[in-house]
Amino acid sequence: MTGASTVASPEGLADVPAVAIENLGKRFGGVVAVSDVTFALSDETITGLIGPNGAGKTTLLNLITGYLKPTSGSIAIKGKTVTGWLPHAVAGMGVARTYQNILLLDSETVATNILIGCHGALQRRRLVTRAKEWRSRPGRDVVERLLTVLNLREVAKDEVAQLPYGMRRRVEIARALAASPSLLILDEPTAGMTRDESDEIGRLVQQVRDAGTTVLLVEHNVRLVRAICDEVLVLQWGNIIARDSAERVWDDPVVRTAYLGDMEGQESETGPAKQEGGTTNAGA
């Protein structure tokens, strides 16, 4: 039995996969978004999840993090079945994420937004600790560190709504990291960023992995996926059509025809949009 209290030391659970998914399916009415997905993530790796728009990537993330309830199948995090759990409970298992459409508390400052990420840790403190830490503004040390790491120090007191897109992405990542998660899920973290910015994010994600966190990364930026992912899952029409290392997966003919086509090496995401609409038929 692995409780939520083990979040801080995921190293102790080496034999259990950070996340294991079996026969996961989700349909919205007649539309099958995820048909029958089975995979497990190895610990302390970066796994890329790629696929054309409408392949069901975000739906899969929403299923894992509890925002959607699966129609079939099961999800286990660190050996514990969390199928049907609500997002806050999944978060309590040490899962933190970012969102495809950036979700931030727009009217709050950058610092406060990051501080929200610390909620789990602050809540788990014992009453005595809470009383002791009362005047020391608990969580501030974490925020300070992340402000530096993500280069947000100058805007710490700014309202996030006024920040440029790339910076908002970084705030979101900082908030996810503030939870010191054992499983970090990033949904297109570099969308809308410059090449330099996204390279920086790539390096950061690698550091996070090296510190012992498992990362699941949905990304359209193929260059970045190639550069940092240990493994890549290819999703199409709600099915996993390929799974291989970041170097080899591109050679898979199925992947080439289904997804990559002629866009190899491009950072744009306009290409795959053509295949949108395929989801309606998938698995029906």
Partner: protein, 291 residues
């Protein structure tokens, strides 16, 4: 027993009219409008003043409907549209409608010097129509006919006409509708005007039923309207009519089998119960938030 069922349907007929107006506003504008209670009152006062000035009853009713419609559009164009443009939260919109309610109510109160006024019912149908062993008051029969007719017209309007499709597009997303060349402001105004007319109609029927009119008559009717749209599902035209009739029947049966004491309480219990079991009403469409 049969007579009481007829009573319930008759009672529900006015409730349906109330529900139709509120559901239309909610469906198009997504606002729970407390000022609606005063549209009811102002419409009835409009008719009262017209009748007092010897306008034939049919025209007086139309004048009352126009008064309420114009007031509703005026409120919408001044306060609501301004707030919508600024993207104000739905809570603030609701509270603003409460403010409007307060203003309109005090004007009506001042006009009637806080008194209950006599509503002349000479020109309204009276007596009852016998159907087999039961009798149905003519006034209620008329309101039943009107609410079913309004339901059919609204249904036809929204489903079959170009304007109706435009209204539904605006209801779905005003910016999208604007992109498609629909004048969303005009659509909003039209929906608000129609809903004001329906409010007036309900208020006039209520006043004619009791032969009295007071500035606070709308308050109870507003609660009934809320109950009706919760039962029927907010934004559902068919639901408003069925919800109204259902509420009428439930209230009558409660009066009959339990006690008239609880016919009020049952309204609220129904709201709570339906919301707990079916949060979007009996005929409502599920709304799913997504990440």
């Amino acid at each position: 027993m049969l007579q009481q069922t007829v009573n319930g349907i008759a009672l529900g007929a006015t409730y349906s009219l109330l529900g139709l107006g509120v559901t239309l506003i909610w469906g198009v504008l997504r606002v729970l409008n407390f000022a609606y209670s005063q549209f009811i009152v102002w419409g009835a006062f409009g008719t009262l003043i017209a009748i007092e000035n010897h306008v034939p009853t049919v025209f007086a009713v139309l004048i009352g409907m126009a008064v309420a419609g114009v007031v509703a559009v005026f409120v919408d164009m001044t306060v609501m549209q301004f707030m919508r443009r600024r993207g104000t939260s739905e809570f603030a919109l609701v509270v603003a409608t409460i403010g409007v309610y307060y203003i309109l109510s005090s004007v009506a109160q001042d006009r009637s010097k806080s008194q209950i006024e006599t509503f002349p019912i000479g020109g309204f149908p009276h007596g009852s129509v016998d159907i087999g062993s039961t009798s149905l008051p003519s006034l209620q029969l008329l309101s039943l006919v009107i609410s079913v007719a309004v339901m059919i017209v609204l249904g036809y309007w929204l489903n079959r006409t170009r304007l109706g499709r435009a209204t539904r597009t605006v209801a779905y997303s005003a910016p999208t509708a604007e992109l498609l060349g629909v004048n969303s402001r005009a659509i909003f105004a039209l929906a608000v005007f129609v809903s004001g007319c329906l409010a007036a109609l309900a208020g006039i029927f209520n006043a004619a039923d009791s032969s009295t009119l007071s500035y606070s008559d709308g308050d109870q009717l507003l609660v009934v309207a809320f109950a009706v749209i919760v039962l029927g599902g907010m934004g559902s035209v068919k639901g408003a009519v069925i919800g109204g009739l259902a509420l009428g029947l439930v209230q009558v049966y409660t009066t009959l089998y339990v006690s008239g004491v609880f016919s009020n309480a049952i309204t609220y219990l129904l709201i709570v119960g339906v919301l707990i079991v079916r949060p979007n009403g009996l005929f409502g469409v599920r709304e799913e938030a997504r990440v």
